[in-house]
Symmetry: C2
Subunit: 287 residues, 2 copies
């Protein structure tokens, strides 16, 4: 069963590398499969600079759940902030046409690797990895490899099915201002001190969002350092805002800072800096 | 239903404060309920200095699962290291008597708050919180409070039921050398980079273990700072060793450092420092 799956993948990989990619269809396939159903769609030709999730094209079908979309567990704060940023993801021109705004919502998936009746379904998230065309094949190889290593693996922040029980979050990026925000609602399974969010869960969100921001700006990265100052505990069940900005880039290094505040930014809960190193798959495999 | 539970607790609290504690039975109750079934038991009168988990006494029964005990998901490395440290938790004297060794295994619970047929069952873990007699009542109030706030809350590191799927770990402390070790097996639900552990999951274990060590040495604390350097990715499914030591204590501050290595300590995966502040429940409530 496993061997059959691996053979399927190997065949798919060869076909993709030999046929799909050489014909320039790789990104077309990604585009077609990436478009969230029922959401606003812009012509992809106009957003060549937009970095998109890397996903497996044919022979795998692709219908993952986008965890960054609202669900019934979201409270009023979470919904309000989502609407606030989401409404700035598209704007209407004087001619009545719609185009991208300054903000962009990043879709968010778990890493599901399932086989059913011989048809593979694959989605992939690597630190909410967004990647450019030039990184797509590299990332594809990462998917291929990790599929062999751990077929049951799931992204840490999306490993609990019950809506609202753990990490509910959505990330928006603003390339123009090199900023990134994340609206985060902390569920009851994230407890540390009684009634409050575990320091590790806060660190997890900081790593996720600063890493996403660094990846968005610099391509695939790995976390090299996180320095986190916990100022004030976060009550369990509450919604907070993570705001990230680029500090500087030096060669392979990307420096990002992050603040975790309440929803109106009047109270600072946590602040952190993150250092990220640009990597290739070789770095990861040799780690 | 909730009100009934709260009334039960309030009555229990008054009775405990007015009757049980005044009669000096509080710790006796804890002792009786804390003893893991089927494990080696020492006379508690001989270990007054030993810090124990704070749990709710009467009217609540107490039979929580200790997550730090071996289960079928543990691999050979995890079992071997567990046995290595566990065998040093008790020693035999020349007279053939058994007494505590230099290491001590800390039990580990999730935070379960359940009501069934009118009988409350309560266990409590706060950053693997271990506390002295003088902190027992304070901690009890924390349990009482958090029960009202979030009846479904669970400790972040123990929130997944499937054995081996997420955090499998056991903490041993050595008061004599002011050291602490944690054997940690990373399950498939902790993925970050493909096939490797999420940086947030590593941060979570570092926060948990350094926090436990600080609490063991200084009483209840909150994390003030974590500074984490990620040196080498940790493969998913592998077992690693977290070794913590006390750097210094200054007033309310406790400084702890931590290294995450492979099982024979030949490869450094992560290193970190943690600063912890001693707190009262008032600090937490006012936060």
């Amino acid at each position: 069963m496993i061997r059959t799956g691996v053979q399927q993948m190997a065949r798919g990989l060869c076909q993709i590398m030999g046929r799909e990619i050489s014909k320039g269809n790789f990104n077309t396939n990604i585009r077609q499969q990436m478009t969230p159903r029922g959401t606003f769609q812009l012509p992809w030709s106009s957003i060549n600079s937009v970095r998109t999730m890397a996903v497996l094209p044919w022979p795998f079908s692709f219908q993952p759940r986008d965890f960054s979309l609202p669900n019934l567990s979201w409270g009023s704060d979470m919904r309000r902030l989502y609407e606030h940023y989401n409404s700035q993801c598209e704007v209407e021109t004087d001619d009545g046409e719609k185009k991208w705004g300054v903000w962009r919502r990043l879709p968010s998936y778990n890493r599901s690797l399932k086989y059913a009746t011989g048809t593979g379904r694959v989605s992939f998230t690597w630190m909410e990895c967004v990647c450019t065309k030039r990184h797509a094949l590299t990332t594809y190889c990462g998917v291929y490899l990790s599929k062999i290593i751990q077929s049951k693996a799931r992204l840490f922040t999306r490993n609990i099915r019950e809506q609202g029980a753990a990490f509910e979050y959505v990330v928006f990026v603003n390339k123009q201002e090199q900023k990134c925000v994340c609206v985060f609602q902390a569920g009851h399974l994230l407890e540390g001190p009684p009634g409050h969010v575990h320091g590790g869960a806060i660190a997890t969100m900081i790593d996720t969002v600063t890493g996403t921001h660094a990846t968005y700006l610099s391509g695939p990265v790995m976390t090299a350092n996180l320095n986190i100052n916990y100022r004030s505990p976060i009550p369990l069940g509450s919604t907070v805002l993570l705001t990230c900005s680029l500090d500087k880039k030096e060669g392979r290094k990307t420096f990002v800072s992050c603040q975790v505040t309440n929803t109106d930014s009047s109270k600072l809960h946590t602040e952190a800096t993150g250092l990220f190193l640009s990597i290739t798959m070789g770095d990861l495999l040799g780690g």
